[in-house]
Amino acid sequence: MLLPAYGWLLVSVFLPLGAMLVFSFLKTNPFGSKAPLVFTTNNYLAFVTRPYLVGVAWTSLRLGFWTTGICAAVGLPAALAIARATRGRVRQTVFLLTILPFWTNGLVRVFSWTMLLRQGGILDDLVHLAAPGAASAGLLYSFPAVVIGLVHAYLPYMILTCYLAVASIDDALIDAARSLGARLPTVFATVVLPLALPGLVSGSILIFVPVIGSFMEPRILGGRIGVTMGTVIEDQFTQAYNWPLGSALSFSMLGVVLAIFAACSGVLRERLAA
């Protein structure tokens, strides 16, 4: 019963990851040559031999921090608002509208931002409507544009995980704190935030991990300045054909991802068990 599904996963996920690990130690592409395989660890020294990669990795991390931070700052209040300020059909509708974007194509959503952000785009029109003669916003092909696109792509994750955490907070807890004289900020910091923390953490992981591996958002919204680890890896496989280097970079990123999962495994396990 289990064999077909796990066999399929073995062939399509686990063996490929293993093959990529081997590949990352190869000196050159082995295709089309009868020469014996030559192994090297040089691909993993890329950050030393190609110093520009350090800057690229830093861009990826900055994208991750900004996107995750903004998603948390917007997502938690939004989740609280769904749990506290809506009920019945309104809540159901808002909830469905929040998770609907999961089902739509990410590429299409990134593309939609180019309509708004480009020079002379809709956002520019709105700015000019409010303040004629203002300079063009023309945000497209900038770091903020990439962050906006990524927040748009991943905000629903944060709202969902935070909502699952705060929906179960008992009203009596908040009433009790209030009746004992706690002000709203105090209630938030001492009652709501600790209870929402598991949702915030799992949401942050769900966002940070794919963001540092993103490549189409920086490519489309960042243009020339959108060089990230994701686009560098994409280039190694589709343009430069340096697959061993691409494999090593991919695997380094996997290491970072696994380290994040390991560091947060306690919180994640609680959520999975719930």
Binding site: Y6, F23, A81, A85, V94, L97, P101, F215, S250
Partner: protein, 258 residues
């Protein structure tokens, strides 16, 4: 506080949906430079009918998604049944092994598949995409069907057994009919996962054999035209339709009332 909360939610939903609305509207706008004022036309949609590449890509997308939905639903359901109805050692590990396809960034899984498939001679193309998509969809199917199985009363199966039914007959006569909504929901989910999948398809696409998202990506990189809006709108419509059926089948959003 309530008014403030609702106002904030309205802003968040505006942020989530305004760009998509603009994108869709521009697909119906006559200007090929996305210029206003808005003058409605179906020109860009009729233009698609003559775009052989896009039509071929759409056919590929639907084909891959159909095969993925079928294969992932059968394999995932078998695994879900074994995981929920039997007890054996190593079950936590097997559950853990379902996470990598979901949790590892597609960029990493996609490039790994490319390396492995190329190396073993499986190569690129639709068959490689199907191999990849099914693997990505199986964990979701196990999750959806597993949730359905958990809600299904095990005592009904036991009653049928105690009345002398064989396990196979119990499965066909009791479990399967009760499980049908979950199975359809899982198949829809797998179909949507495959239809919207871009990253893995992108790396596994053979020259001249692409799916719709891959074709859209290369079109965007060449430059923006309203034709991309039109085809994106169609893809968006398909996803939203699938979602509405899925939501109705699984009754998500009504969880709190159960």
């Amino acid at each position: 506080m309530t008014a403030l909360g609702r106002g904030f939610l309205a802003l968040v939903l505006l942020f989530l949906y305004a760009p998509i609305a603009v994108m869709v509207l521009m697909g119906f706008n006559a200007s090929d430079l996305y210029a206003l004022p808005f003058s409605p036309t179906l020109h860009w949609f009729s233009e698609l009918a003559g775009n052989d590449r896009l039509i071929a890509a759409t056919r590929n997308s639907v084909l891959v998604a159909l095969v993925t939905a079928g294969a992932a639903t059968v394999l995932g359901t078998m695994a879900a049944l074994a995981l929920s109805r039997r007890s054996f050692r190593g079950k936590p590990l097997l559950r853990l092994l379902l996470l990598p396809p979901i949790a590892i960034p597609w960029l990493i899984t996609g490039t790994a598949m490319l390396v492995f498939f190329f190396w073993t001679g499986i190569g690129r193309g639709l068959h490689a995409m199907i191999l990849g998509h099914v693997a990505l969809a199986i964990p979701y199917v196990v999750l959806v069907v597993g949730t359905g199985l958990a809600a299904l009363r095990a005592d009904l199966e036991e009653v049928a057994m105690s009345l002398g039914s064989t396990p196979l007959h119990v499965f066909w006569a009791v479990t399967l009919p009760l499980l049908a909504p979950s199975l359809i929901a899982a198949a829809l989910f797998a179909f949507a996962v495959s239809l919207d999948q871009f990253v893995v398809s992108y790396f596994l696409a053979a020259p001249g054999v692409a799916t719709l998202p891959v074709e859209i990506y290369s079109a965007i990189r060449k430059g923006f035209t309203p034709e991309i809006n039109a085809v994106s709108t169609i893809l968006l419509g398909a996803s939203v339709g699938l979602f509405l059926v899925f939501a109705a089948l699984t009754r998500i959003g009504t969880v709190e009332r159960r």
